[in-house]
């Protein structure tokens, strides 16, 4: 288990214990957190699980795979901290990770 903090666009914060091995997207969806849609179910085929990774965490995450940056092109208001949460796997290294949710996904 690792603690992942999801901060909604209105600053409402949710800290959830997510089992290691799940993605940050799954941690949100399985706990009925609004704001992460994940329309394609985690196959990196849409961009509706888009999050902004906290500045202090951004560099610590494993690098993006090739297709992820392409998919982020079609996300809602991406910036340089943008990631697809389905591609961030939870592990002990990520305990305490903070991600912010965009104002909408689509």
């Amino acid at each position: 288990m690792s603690k992942i903090t999801y901060i909604e666009h209105n600053n409402k914060s949710h800290t959830i214990d997510v089992p290691n091995g799940l993605s940050v997207m799954e941690g949100a969806v399985q706990n009925n957190l609004m704001g992460i849609d994940a329309d394609c179910g985690g196959s990196m085929a849409c961009a509706t699980c888009h999050v902004y990774v906290d500045e202090n965490w951004h560099e610590k995450l494993p690098k993006k795979e090739e297709g992820e940056e392409d998919m982020l092109d079609v996300a809602y208001e991406p910036n340089r901290f943008s990631r697809l949460s389905c591609q961030i796997m939870v592990s002990n290294d990520l305990d305490g990770l903070i991600v912010r949710l965009p104002s909408k996904q689509a």
């Binding site: 849609d37 329309d39 849409c46 092109d73 079609v74 689509a106």
Partner: protein, 341 residues
């Protein structure tokens, strides 16, 4: 007005197999899909990606799966109504009446919603200004390129649509291509052409920029772009085009009085009927305890929903279960000569 036994909404794998299951029990169906092609997510999102969990097929691509499903339903000569979205639903005595975006009207006792995660629609600019000009000087697709002749055009996006249109319109317009990062994801050959056109000053490329504001009254006068570091760039402009791919939206179905759970429709797992008699939901769009969003689950759901449609389509006949291997009726419907082995 089109009368049919079943209206299938969605031409993805689940919708296509529903046509098959309806066809073998002798029911006629019509299919509506908002995309311009058959195949749903398989074609739009991952035509080349391999799928490994279709029973008895160790590996196939989304495109191959679609092609095979189409071949399987060939004998039923089904009509596809593409580029059309279902809009309005009305109850007409014992039938449903569905009107599409092209004002086509279907009269049917049964509707099978196999809509995946909703209908595909272009992703739009996030700035509010864009809404005001949409359809007049802001576009997400091009119907008549002559509109842009000798005008100042700003194209946003980094994929093939953005690159292809930049190349095409640079023949007779002043084109600026804007993308949020320096890398483009379109085909390498298109990118090469774009770079050449940039050198010969036929296309101006601005990266990493995003649209900030649009100014104008009736038509656009100028736009401003924002660089990642906050720097603002103002440009005189006539038209703005955005190519950011497609998103999925439930659309008007959300207002059909169905029992929704987020973006999915609750169903009874015996028949896959929704809370409305004669309206069924199968595939990714339906939900029930234990639901798996797999193509194979969609196939199972299609088989049960098709049988349930029989009752309302043939109220005076009794449905009898038959196997395709032995049934003369089914073979007849498939156009197979029963005398041959």
């Amino acid at each position: 007005m089109i009368k049919t036994d079943v209206l299938v909404i969605g031409a993805g794998p689940t919708g296509l197999f529903a046509v098959h299951q309806l066809g073998i029990i002798g029911l006629k169906s019509e299919v509506v899909d908002n995309l311009d092609k058959i195949g749903g997510q398989c074609i739009e999102l991952y035509p080349d990606k391999p799928i490994y969990d279709i029973p008895a097929i160790s590996e196939c691509t989304g495109e191959e799966l679609t092609k095979n499903l189409l071949k399987q339903i060939e004998p039923f000569e089904t009509n596809f109504h593409l580029n059309e979205r279902v809009e309005e639903l009305k109850k007409d005595v014992s039938n449903w009446q569905v009107t599409t975006s092209k004002k086509k009207v279907f009269i049917t006792p049964n509707i099978i919603i196999a809509g995946g995660v909703g209908s595909f629609e272009p992703r739009k600019f996030s700035t509010k200004d864009a809404e005001k000009f949409e359809g007049k000087s802001v576009f997400y697709s091009i119907k008549d390129k002559n509109l842009f002749k000798n005008k100042k055009i700003c194209i946003f996006g980094g994929g093939d649509s953005a690159l292809d249109w930049a190349i095409e319109l640079s023949n007779f317009s002043e084109v600026t291509l804007v993308h949020r990062r320096t890398e483009f994801r379109g085909a390498p050959s298109s990118l090469e052409t774009v770079k050449k056109l940039e050198k010969s000053r036929k296309i101006r490329i601005l990266t990493p920029y995003q649209l900030n504001t649009i100014e104008g009254d009736k038509n656009i006068k100028s736009i401003s772009l924002k660089k990642e570091d906050g720097k603002i760039e103002k440009l005189e402009m006539d038209y703005v085009l955005g190519f950011f791919g497609l998103i999925m939206k439930l659309g008007p179905i959300a207002n059909w009085g169905l029992n929704l759970d987020k973006k999915t429709i609750k169903v009874n797992t015996e028949t896959f009927q929704t809370n409305q008699e004669g309206i069924f939901a199968i595939g990714d769009i339906c939900t029930y305890p234990g639901k798996l969003k797999l193509i194979l689950s969609g196939f199972h759901e299609a088989a049960l929903a098709a049988r349930a449609c029989y009752k309302l389509a043939r109220p005076n006949e009794k449905y009898r279960f038959e196997f395709t291997t032995t049934s003369k009726n089914i073979k007849g419907r498939l156009g197979i000569d029963s005398n041959k082995k």
